[in-house]
């Protein structure tokens, strides 16, 4: 039995979903930005941004679990190796640039040794690229598997 009866019609429901969707992504990027600024640029201790990070991770895990359960991937792309590579490259590239900037700003050693900074950034980039690619590959495989399961569940047995 439903405890709360909806008082909106289908158009209002769709519009509410759209509003919530937009606000979710605004909150997502602002929270990520806040965590990056506090942890990397301001060198704040984990206790200061740990709760935000925890909430952020709960949101991320919720989205991943929800998408895997429903066999959904993305609005604009499909779970393919090419897309995993593109997203990994963008994610690790963006983080590597931020990492290099913060290391240069906060660490006097790297101000006089750009070669070491470059090498460290390249290492971080490579590690992160591998990590993101692996995460996308695993979640993409799960999504594709779930899509297949859902297709079979609603399969018309007359058609073979």
């Amino acid at each position: 039995m439903k405890k709360f009866k909806k008082v909106v019609d289908e158009r209002q429901e769709l519009e509410l979903y759209k509003i919530e969707h937009v606000c979710f992504w605004i909150m997502f990027w602002l929270l990520l930005g806040s965590i990056i600024i506090q942890s990397m640029f301001l060198n704040a201790p984990f206790t200061q941004w740990g709760f935000e990070w925890g909430i952020f991770m709960v949101g991320c895990i919720g989205v991943i679990v929800g998408c895997c359960r429903k066999g959904q991937w993305d609005f604009y792309s499909k779970p393919t190796i090419k897309n995993y590579l593109i997203y990994s490259l963008i994610g690790s590239g963006a983080f590597a640039i931020i990492y290099a900037i913060t290391m240069y700003m906060n660490n006097p050693y790297f101000k006089g040794n750009l070669l070491a900074l470059g090498a460290l950034t390249a290492f971080v980039f490579a590690m992160l690229f591998a990590l993101i690619f692996a995460a996308l590959f695993i979640t993409g495989s799960l999504v594709k598997k779930r899509q297949k399961q859902l297709e079979d569940e609603f399969r018309d047995d007359d058609q073979d």
Partner: protein, 70 residues
């Protein structure tokens, strides 16, 4: 693309947007937006509207050719 067929059927039945909305479980704004072609209703809502106005889906929502304005 305006749904004039639906608007005409509603006027013929002497039903206001408000009354139709109440009958099909929608808001007046939603009915107005469907008639103005600003919202594509679900099949379920289309059927409810057809039943309320005593019409078929063909009568209200079918276009004979792609370029036809309903």
């Amino acid at each position: 693309m305006k749904n004039l067929k639906m608007k005409i059927a509603r006027v013929e039945n002497e039903v206001s947007q408000e009354q139709l909305a109440k009958t099909v479980g929608a808001t007046r704004q939603t009915i107005g937006m469907i008639e103005a072609g600003k919202f594509n209703p679900s099949l379920q809502l289309c059927i409810s509207i057809c039943r309320a106005l005593g019409k078929t889906l063909n009568d209200l929502f079918w276009e004979e050719n792609e370029n036809e304005k309903i």
